[in-house]
């Protein structure tokens, strides 16, 4: 059994190297397809991490009118903290808001002089809400509109964040669709190339196949090398892709750490930790695809 397998492997490598350039093109197309698949996984992961990070940072401010007492605003804070969807509610007093405003516009005399004209503190108290998820904000902003608090609410600031998150999600979805189309295209090319490679291999080995049959090789001994060759393409391509990804992550990870400062986007570690599901699935799918294509090519061109 082991001896037969060893001989099948020997014939497989002979097939591979006798049609080296065809094998090279097949593996290259496979590599390109897998690179696109991994680029999609990469983009997906980075976008998810970026979104998670943005979502974590999203805060919504509820501004109260200047006549709302701090007791009323603190009562609203307590009310909001009672919701499971709320992670934190920070009370910002009118005085603190004024200080922040003055600090922010320290060099702007026009604004500061207009403050003087107003005379008193134009700001009211406000609450800064962090939710477990940005999806909870519409509900929370609705919830605070009770008869007790609604008359004192001057403004609720949420829409901008919602837009930003939506934009990122839309962009990510579009990139994903583009990735699917590109991966589909390359998969199709890979199928055609494998089909042709096996067809040529069968043609090149027609004498050998004829002699194999003549001297009593069974069907699987004739078919085996072609099927193993199909698996070999997948294994080689994935090996090359893993090598390229390792190199790419060495360069990309430090750069991305700088670019996404504060966001933990360690793609190399992510791929490493999920190597078995990520690359195992790719190996399985790529092998199945090439085996299936080879089987079709053999059915059509190989007479045993």
């Amino acid at each position: 059994m082991l001896r037969t397998f060893y001989r099948l492997l020997k014939f497989t490598f002979q097939n591979f190297f006798r049609n080296f350039w065809l094998s090279f093109v097949t593996v290259t197309i496979f590599v390109l397809t897998l690179i696109i698949v991994n680029a999609m996984i990469f983009m997906n992961y980075v976008a998810d991490r970026a979104l998670e990070s943005i979502e974590d940072r999203v805060e919504v401010a509820v501004y109260f009118t200047s006549d709302a007492s701090d007791t009323l605003v603190k009562s609203a804070q307590g009310y909001l903290l009672g919701f499971a969807q709320v992670r934190d509610v920070r009370f910002v007093s009118a005085e603190s808001a004024l200080e922040t405003f003055i600090e922010r516009h320290a060099g702007d005399d026009v604004i500061l002089s207009s403050l003087d004209e107003v005379g008193n503190n134009p700001f009211g108290h406000s609450l800064v809400i962090s939710a477990e998820s940005p999806e909870n904000f519409p509900f929370l902003l609705e919830a605070i509109e009770t008869p007790e608090y609604a008359p004192f609410i001057e403004e609720k600031d949420f829409t901008n964040y919602e837009q930003v998150i939506d934009n990122i999600k839309t962009l990510n979805d579009r990139v994903r669709v583009g990735g699917y189309i590109l991966a589909g295209f390359f998969t199709l090319v890979a199928i055609l190339i494998i089909f042709n490679t096996i067809r040529v291999a069968i043609y090149v080995h027609r004498d050998e196949i004829g002699i194999m049959k003549l001297v009593g090789a069974n069907d699987w001994f004739v078919r085996g090398p072609f099927l193993l060759e199909a698996v070999l393409y997948s294994v080689l391509a994935l090996g090359i892709v893993i090598g390229l990804l390792t190199l790419a992550f060495n360069v990309l990870d430090p750069w991305m750490a700088r670019y996404f400062s504060g966001i933990d986007v360690n793609v190399g570690t992510y791929f490493m930790q999920n190597a078995v599901p990520i690359f195992g699935t790719q190996l399985l799918l790529a092998s199945m695809l090439s085996l299936l294509t080879t089987a079709v090519a053999m059915r059509r061109y190989l007479r045993v």
């Binding site: 001896r3 004498d207 003549l214 009593g216 090789a217």
Partner: protein
């Protein structure tokens, strides 16, 4: 060894290659099957190693009924029959020894045993010294001897030689016939398909003559009777 009973072979649309052939060949016999081109002799030879199936009738080789043999059993049958062709069917990128070993390799033979058998059959055909030569470095006669050596590796009880001298000059052709006779003397049944008058007449063995797909004559110590 070989029993053919009422064997016919028709190719589409209605080409009758063989018609109602009945023939018995005993173990250890040397039978020449002769006939002109298109007489059906190659079709008959192909049937003996299950390359063709009869449209009608029964073909039995040893214990194998070719008319009913399953596709999966064909390789086992072929390991029990040696086949030699006019065009040698050697792989150009393999040496003489490797070409012979190939038949054992595909059958899963152990490497050490393989080496032993290859050495032995090369000695039978007198090519021990040329074991490492490639087919292009051998004469036509030598290539045919390699082919015969390959057909011997499984110690077959039957050898089918389909025009084995067709590509050879008279001297090399005689060498090959001499070798087949030697193999026959060891007890192997030999079926020689040929249209070479001199070879058939020189053999003084059984001759079955085919004409238009039918047996025209079957003579124990026959001669080539066709014009």
């Amino acid at each position: 060894m070989i029993h053919l009973k009422g064997v016919s072979k028709t190719y589409q649309p209605n080409i009758k290659a063989l018609q109602n052939i009945s023939l018995n060949v005993k173990p250890g016999e040397f039978v020449s099957i002769v006939g002109q081109s298109g007489s059906g002799k190659s079709t008959l030879a192909k049937m003996l190693f299950a390359e063709e199936r009869p449209t009608k009738g029964e073909v039995v080789i040893g214990e194998w009924d070719i008319s009913k043999i399953k596709q999966a059993d064909v390789p086992t049958l072929r390991r029990q029959i040696g086949v030699v062709f006019q065009d040698f069917k050697l792989l150009p990128r393999k040496t003489a020894a490797e070409n012979i070993a190939f038949a054992l390799e595909v059958a899963g033979e152990h490497s050490a045993r393989m080496k032993e058998i290859v050495g032995h059959v090369l000695k039978i055909v007198g090519l021990e010294e040329k074991a490492n030569r490639y087919p292009r470095q051998l004469s036509g006669g030598e290539q045919q001897r390699v082919s015969i050596a390959r057909s011997l590796v499984h110690r077959p009880k039957l050898i089918i030689a389909d025009e084995p001298t067709g590509n050879l000059d008279a001297i090399h052709a005689q060498e090959i016939i001499h070798l087949l006779k030697k193999i026959n003397e060891f007890g192997t049944t030999v079926v020689l398909v040929t249209h070479d008058r001199d070879i058939v007449n020189g053999l003084k063995k059984r001759v079955v003559t085919l004409q238009n797909g039918e047996i025209a004559s079957d003579v124990a110590r026959g001669k080539y009777v066709l014009s």
